[in-house]
């Protein structure tokens, strides 16, 4: 591992100033579960770490509007167990609990979870080319091992997926990310935080290196009380997803769909908010056929690779099954 200097700044503004002054070889350290791993692998090589675990809130607070504000330093395990999250946004709790292991969730923070890097095997192996790790070196995944990689929104330069579960639930729940940069604090909709790869796969997000995530806010959403996160993977626990779905369904008295929230995970370079499927469902019948048609509307734009077309079918089935479960539980 490359030697690095370690420091704790006095507050978030000071931490941002340190990284701003030092340049891209400085990095923020939170739980370290991804960053330290990548430093061991030689994938990232910062020469200065600024520890921010004690500089942002580690609390989940209710907002005046009836939503919640989650400090960036809240541990994944604490957020999953939070009574308000479990009651009002169960999909978020379920997403967190489906990710990583008990030990890792105790270390990992909300801010770090959002900024974790892809688990594409070529990205993690410094002996291989990778456009995300080394721009313009090439993408062996397109012809190589890509069974678990992207089926939608990818480019000729990169087929990596974003691995987070938590971020998928947050994307469905209209989360807003609070970011502190050198010019002060600003808000970014979570669905706009992560990028599609296009010709710059080295950039996972729209953030610049001194930008620090300080909190994530969820607006009130009554029907999210019956939201769901479901994840399909190769083993039952402690594995990254092949496809996941965060869903919330609001049915009118006549049984039609009044409103819904849908986001897929592990299909793309970012959490995939399924806006086409949502639009297809609103105002229509809550039947399995309508759910299937909505999934088709979303997935019509998929361009699977040689070995991952099954993920498109899996995503369709996951959407139909999850919405029909939500519908049937609501009617019961």
């Amino acid at each position: 591992m490359r030697p690095f200097a370690y420091e704790r700044a006095a507050d978030a503004a000071a931490a941002v100033a340190v990284v701003d002054g030092h340049g891209p070889d400085a990095a923020f350290l939170a739980g370290g579960t991804n960053l330290v791993d990548l430093m061991k692998l030689g994938v990232v090589t910062p020469d200065r770490l600024v520890d921010v675990t004690r500089l942002t809130s580690a609390e989940v607070e209710e907002t005046a509007e009836g939503g919640i504000r989650i400090g960036a330093a809240v541990r994944n395990s604490d957020l999953a167990a939070d009574p308000v999250v479990r009651e009002r946004y169960p999909a978020l709790s379920q997403a967190l609990l489906s990710g990583a292991s008990g030990q890792l969730r105790n270390l990992a923070t909300v801010g770090g979870n959002l900024l974790q890097r892809t688990r594409c095997p070529y990205f993690q192996d410094v002996s291989k080319p990778c456009n995300k790790r080394r721009p313009e070196s090439g993408c062996p995944a397109r012809e190589g091992a890509h069974r678990e990689l992207a089926v939608i929104g990818h480019s000729e330069h990169c087929v990596a997926t974003h691995p987070s579960d938590m971020a998928v639930a947050m994307a469905a729940l209209d989360a807003v990310v609070h970011v502190r940069g050198p010019a002060g604090e600003r808000e970014i909709a979570l669905v706009d935080l992560h990028r599609l790869p296009n010709d710059r796969p080295d950039r996972d997000t729209v953030l610049e290196s001194p930008d620090l995530i300080v909190a994530v806010e969820l607006a009130p959403l009554d029907f999210a009380r019956r939201s769901r996160y479901r994840k399909v993977r190769d083993r039952a626990s402690f594995a990254f997803g092949l496809v996941s779905l965060a869903a919330a369904l609001d049915l009118a008295d006549d049984g039609t769909v009044r409103d819904c929230r849908l986001a897929f995970g592990q299909l793309a370079h970012k959490p995939w908010r399924a806006t086409r499927a949502e639009a297809a469902l609103r105002g229509g019948p809550a039947t399995d056929a309508a759910f299937g048609a909505a999934a088709d509307a979303e997935l019509a734009h998929a361009q699977p690779l040689r070995d991952n077309a099954f993920k498109v079918t899996l995503a369709r089935n996951l959407l139909v099954r999850t919405l029909s479960d939500l519908r049937d539980e609501g009617a019961a």
């Binding site: 690095f4 579960t33 167990a81 008990g102």
Partner: protein, 171 residues
Amino acid sequence: MDAHRAQIALEVNGEEHQLDVDTRTTLLDLLREGLDLIGAKKGCDHGQCGSCTVLIDGRRANSCLALAVAHDGAEVTTIEGLAGEDGTLHPMQEAFLGHDAYQCGYCTPGQICSAVGMLAEVEAGWPSAVTSDASATASLDEAEVRERMSGNLCRCGAYMNIVPAIIEAGS
């Protein structure tokens, strides 16, 4: 002062230590190489196997991914610190012995520390991915133990005995 070194304080198994560490040192390497506490094991060194699990401020964590410098002031409990001062084994250690819950033993310190931390999480009312009603208090059945302990791998496959040992210690 060397920018790549730091002075930290750690309380390990009840004993205070003032340490001068290379900033790259993980808690696992510090325990094993610096403090001669070789119970926590280096399996994968990437947070995937759980054999390095210790309790940091009472919570189970992978010590291979925890930079020592970032845990200045922490209280760490390793497998060596679970038994009483008179040598009385922790109930989880007794349960592993009673159920023969290991073969080669390499993953065992991590399994036991993880199980002790996990029981505290159940006690605190934390749900798991298999807790059917998210608002209900979880009971510690086989499915719950398997899910909650999925961060600890046993390559001998001794799960058949590990699971009942943990259920017994938790009851």
